[in-house]
């Protein structure tokens, strides 16, 4: 115990707090696990929600995934990113839950339709940037969430894992069990569709009450 504490308390040890925590949890100090995963708990929930789209199921799967990560903590290798490892476990758990719940049901037809058809952007007006500060407003977040929810599942899932969960292309492909080429195609389409949806939203006044409305153009 005494030696372990030295690692934590020594600021010159050259490792980050996260690496220390991982090492200690791997040694059996499971009571430190929550401290380790806390910075990622929101992302873990969002990953489960991306797949399951039901708050209760997503929360349950997020918890299950955390317990699974704890049980398998010794399998975590330092060369991987801990957050990525955690999110991949979560996506896997969520996909298993979905498969179990939909066993015997016919999958939605959008799942197997090919994604080869190219997407042509619809809106070419000068892009009016939505500044990040706008996210302080609940209605803006709501509109962005609605736009995302309107995408087909295959586009939405890839977009969430890559752009919200910050997995890279390869990790996204592994998590969803699809090819890298598919991830790239779906990601492109998701991004372009969202852009059009938000540009259209602007025209319909979604963002009309943004703080910069009366001042100079923010773009």
């Amino acid at each position: 115990m005494a030696e372990l504490n030295v690692v934590v308390d020594n600021p010159g040890s050259g490792t980050t707090r996260e690496q220390d925590l991982i090492a200690q949890v791997q040694l059996g100090h499971h009571e430190l696990f929550y401290e380790l995963v806390r910075p990622y708990e929101r992302r873990v929930y969002a990953a489960a929600m991306a797949i399951l789209r039901n708050e209760t199921d997503a929360e349950d799967v997020a918890q299950e995934a955390m317990l699974k990560a704890l049980a398998n903590i010794r399998q975590f290798r330092a060369e991987a990113r801990f957050s990525t490892w955690l999110i991949q476990i979560t996506v896997n758990e969520a996909l298993m839950r979905r498969r179990r719940e939909r066993a015997g049901m016919i999958e939605g037809i959008d799942d197997h339709r090919d994604e080869e058809g190219e997407y042509t952007p619809r809106d070419f007006a000068d892009w009016r940037e939505i500044p990040s500060e706008a996210l302080e407003r609940k209605e803006v977040r709501q509109k962005l969430a609605e736009a995302l929810a309107s995408l087909d599942r295959k586009y939405r899932e890839v977009f969430i894992l890559r752009d919200m969960e910050q997995l890279n292309i390869q990790e996204t492909a592994e998590a969803l069990g699809i090819s890298i080429a598919s991830v790239k195609t779906r990601l492109l389409r998701a991004r372009l569709m969202l852009r059009d949806l938000l540009a259209g939203g602007w025209d319909r006044g979604w963002f009309s009450r943004l703080p910069f409305e009366k001042g100079t153009n923010p773009w």
Binding site: M1, G28, H29, H30, E31, F33, Y34, R38, E41, R42, R43, Y45, A46, E55, E59, A62, Q63, M66, L67, L70, E118, Y119, T120, P121, D123, F124, A125, D126, W127, E129, I130, S132, L135, E136, R141, L144, A145, L148, F159, D163, M164, Q166, I169, K184, L187, L188, R191, L192, L194, R195, L198, A199, W219
Partner: protein, 209 residues
């Protein structure tokens, strides 16, 4: 491969996501940069797509139900508490040694059980009141005084000593010994009991050797 001069809008849209990712050959990137300088429509597509990526990557876009973190912490700590006695203690290294001793002891114990006709053993068992309430745990071969620390945290079944003996259970050397000791102290001391204790100690010692 991509001709600098002929990169058209459709081609730019197709590559725009890779462009943002930085996952594109330098020649293509240069061609696209040229295109953006002259094509306002594609510039709009690029700006908008970048804006989308930036907005959604913001932590504020993640909405979790209230109390989520608290419930997670509770569930984790519940699990951790359940595992605690096994891990995170300085004497963890003793566990394999104890296991080895128990294993060796078990073999010796099993080998002595063959001589159940030995008078001292029979007498020892005979001292146990037949209607005494004892408990047994699943998968084990010993019966215990209720509350014995050997069966702490284990699921137990209560029965009488006679039933336990008839079912092939043997007395727990720890708690049953204490029980008999207390009982014999309470009663007038008898020679046979003293001998039983000595015999038992010998046996225990031999198992631990």
């Amino acid at each position: 491969m991509v001709n600098h001069e002929t990169m058209n809008c459709e081609h730019v849209w197709k590559e725009i996501s890779n462009y943002i990712e930085g996952d594109i050959a330098p020649a293509s990137r240069a061609a696209m940069d040229d295109h953006f300088r002259t094509c306002q429509r594609c510039r709009s597509v690029l700006d908008g797509t970048r804006n989308v990526v930036r907005l959604y990557s913001d932590e504020r876009m993640i909405d979790v139900p209230s109390g989520f973190g608290r419930r997670l912490e509770k569930r984790l700590s519940k699990t951790v508490r359940a595992q605690r006695p096994v891990w995170s203690t300085w004497y963890t290294w003793l566990i394999p040694i104890a296991a080895l001793l128990l294993f060796v002891g078990g073999i010796r114990w099993a080998s002595t059980r063959g001589h159940s006709q030995r008078p001292d053993q029979a007498q020892w068992v005979d001292k146990i009141p037949p209607d005494m309430k004892v408990v047994v745990s699943k998968g084990a071969k010993e019966f215990h005084v209720p509350g014995c620390e050997v069966i702490r945290n284990k699921e137990v079944r209560t029965l009488t000593a006679r039933q336990a003996i008839d079912a092939g259970y043997v007395p727990c050397p720890k708690c049953m010994r204490k029980y008999l000791q207390a009982a014999s102290n309470a009663n007038a001391t008898q020679e046979t009991e003293a001998r039983t204790e000595i015999d038992f100690d010998d046996e225990r010692e031999s198992r631990l050797r």
